[in-house]
C-alpha cells in the first residue's frame, strides 16, 4: 500500500502514529522517531486486518512541504496582484492588456 504525501495527525507512541488524507486517522505501525503532528510523509506498507493497521515498510519524510506550500501561496498572491495589469473585462469578455 502506498500513502503519498499524507499528514501525520497523531502520534500514539514510539511505534505507532496516525496519518490522514482521504481517510482520517489511519494507524501506522512504524517508528515515530523524528515525527511531529503536521508533518507530511509518504508511507509504504502492508495492511494488517486484525487491528486494521498499516505496517510500515518504508517512510519518506517531506520536511520541505510547508515551504513548498508557502511558495505556492506567494505565487497565487503574486498572480492575483498582477492580474489587473495583464487582464481586464470589457463587454462581457476578458481582454488582454500590456
Amino acid at each position: 500500500m502506498l500513502f503519498p504525501l499524507w499528514e501525520v495527525t497523531h502520534i500514539r507512541d514510539a511505534s505507532v502514529y496516525e496519518i490522514s488524507k482521504t481517510m482520517r486517522g489511519v494507524a501506522v505501525e512504524g517508528s515515530s522517531a523524528g515525527l511531529t503532528v503536521g508533518d507530511t510523509v509518504t508511507v509504504k506498507g502492508t495492511f494488517r486486518s486484525s487491528d486494521q493497521a498499516v505496517v510500515e515498510t518504508e517512510r519518506i519524510d517531506h520536511p520541505m512541504r510547508r515551504v513548498k506550500g508557502l511558495l505556492s501561496i506567494i505565487g497565487l498572491l503574486l498572480g492575483a496582484g498582477l492580474w489587473p495589469r495583464f487582464f481586464g473585462w470589457e463587454a462581457g469578455r476578458v481582454v488582454l492588456r500590456g
Binding site: 502506498l2 503519498p4 499528514e7 513548498k68 506550500g69 505565487g75 495583464f86 481582454v95
Partner: protein, 158 residues
Amino acid sequence: MADLLTHGAAAVLLKSGLRGRFIPVFVLGTVMPDLCSRVPAIGLGYVHVHMTPVPSFLTHGWQPMHHPVGLVLLAFLTSFLFREAVRTSVFWNLIGGMALHLGLDLLQSHHGAGYLLGFPFSDFAWELGVMGSEATVGWAIPLSLLAWFVYRKRASPL
C-alpha cells in the same frame, strides 16, 4: 506538483526566451492545472482532516483538471471568455502553458504514484521520477528573480 512560483517563473522564462506573444495567457495556462485541481483539493482536504469529514468526490473530484483530457477541455472553455479574434491564440497558449506544467511535474518522483495521463480512457500512471517532489523549493526564488529580470528586458509583453 512543483510549487506555483516555479511553474510561473518557468513559463515566463520559456515564453520570453522564445520571444513569444501572449505571455500572460501562457503563464495562466501553466498555473491553471494546480489552480483548478490542487488548490480546491488541498483546501477541502484541510477541512476534511482538521474540521469535518468531506465527501471524497469533493476532495479528489478535481483531479481530472490536472490530466491532459481535462486540461484540453479547460483550455477550450476558458478560451471562450476571450474575444473571438484572439480565441485560437489564447487556446494554444493555454495548452502550451499546461503542457509545460505537466512536463515539469512529470520530472518528479512520488514513489510509485504517477500521473494518470490517459484519464478517463486509461488508468495508466507514469512519471519520470528524476527529482523529488520538493526539489523545486530551492529554485523558486532565484528562478522567479531571473524571470522578472528577463521579462523586464522585453520591450513588449504581448
